[in-house]
Symmetry: C2
Subunit: 173 residues, 2 copies
DNA sequence: GGGCGATGGTTTCATGGGAAACTATCGCCC
DNA sequence: GGGCGATAGTTTCCCATGAAACCATCGCCC
């Protein structure tokens, strides 16, 4: 790379006589902006769910998926990890918490003795009915400043970025 | 909230006869997309720096800032926390590592006995000369698919989002 | 039907990162 | 000039997260 190679060793403070474009203004570094924005948004959502339901993000995700499906039969943890795109450990922990709080029960799975079918309880369903609206409300508030066109542009860019990052990371060693 | 209140209790599997818009397709939830994209990008950068320099993200950030400034005089950790927008603990840990690896030294700060002035060593400077180019190269590769206009739109949207999230989180209790 | 590799789930371990507690120094104010 | 609240840095503690190890069951294949 040759964008910069200023050889400053010591001398004069004050007044940038160096190459500012190649320098450390982190706030202009897009991956950094992406990161802090994502953190801020996550923090907001986490905080809202914590305050209103005492739920953490993995937990409400599970509730959302369980509540959604046309499945009174329930889902296995495996299916939940697929649907939530979370780690299986995270799913397991979330399920454990939800079970302890009586929001979910585990019914035996006739089709496979290794797994159980997770189903929302009455309490779980009543929370479920507030969980998604809160998510949507939050999303709406966050993106209120953007036109639908902008929103979809954002989506597209994020998706592209993610894919590209995934490719690049594969191509490393 | 009133966006949905489907009262599904049991019955038919197969075929979504329920309200799919109010449902759990997490991949379409923008905060989620934001999060996984950010993670993918961070992972890429972390991996590149780890492979090439054995540096973690907080460490290269410190190097970048130290290497940038027109300061052979060095910076205090306080100044670094400001410049990197990281936690002071994170900065401290990064500095400790860098010092142990001989990339940075701590000179006494005449102006304030509580702090030291951190300066890149020769080795530190030689890494510095590769650190920023790698960041820029990575940024360039990531955003190669986007026009400058799109990039700046993205920046603007992210900034707006972050601000909005910050405001909303304040307005909670 | 008895291995045996694959798979769902659970537990354990290591790592990262932040909050809070603690120390040393500073900058005031009396 | 001797407190005393504020600030820079450091250490400690705690939590979240993911990887790896582990256990039970499944689905085959012989």
């Amino acid at each position: 790379m040759t964008l910069e190679s200023h050889d400053r060793d010591d001398s004069e403070p004050e007044s940038p006589g160096y190459d500012e474009t190649a320098s450390s203004d982190l706030t202009q570094f897009l991956p950094y902006q992406l990161s802090i924005t994502s953190n801020a948004v996550s923090a907001l959502i986490a905080e809202r769910y914590r305050k209103r339901f005492g739920l953490k993000i993995p937990e409400w995700r599970v509730i959302a998926v369980l509540g959604d499906a046309a499945l009174a039969d329930g889902l296995t943890q495996r299916a939940l990890t697929d649907a939530t795109l979370m780690d299986k450990v995270a799913v397991n922990r979330a399920c454990k918490v939800l079970e302890e709080r009586g929001l979910v029960t585990r019914a035996p799975n006739n089709a496979d003795g290794r797994s159980h079918l997770l189903v929302l309880t009455k309490d779980g369903r009543s929370i479920r009915d507030e969980v998604m609206p809160l998510a949507q409300e939050t999303e709406r508030e966050l993106f209120a400043g953007l036109t639908p066109a902008q929103q979809s542009a954002l989506r597209t860019m994020l998706e592209g970025l993610r894919e590209r990052a995934g490719n690049l990371i594969q191509a490393l060693p």
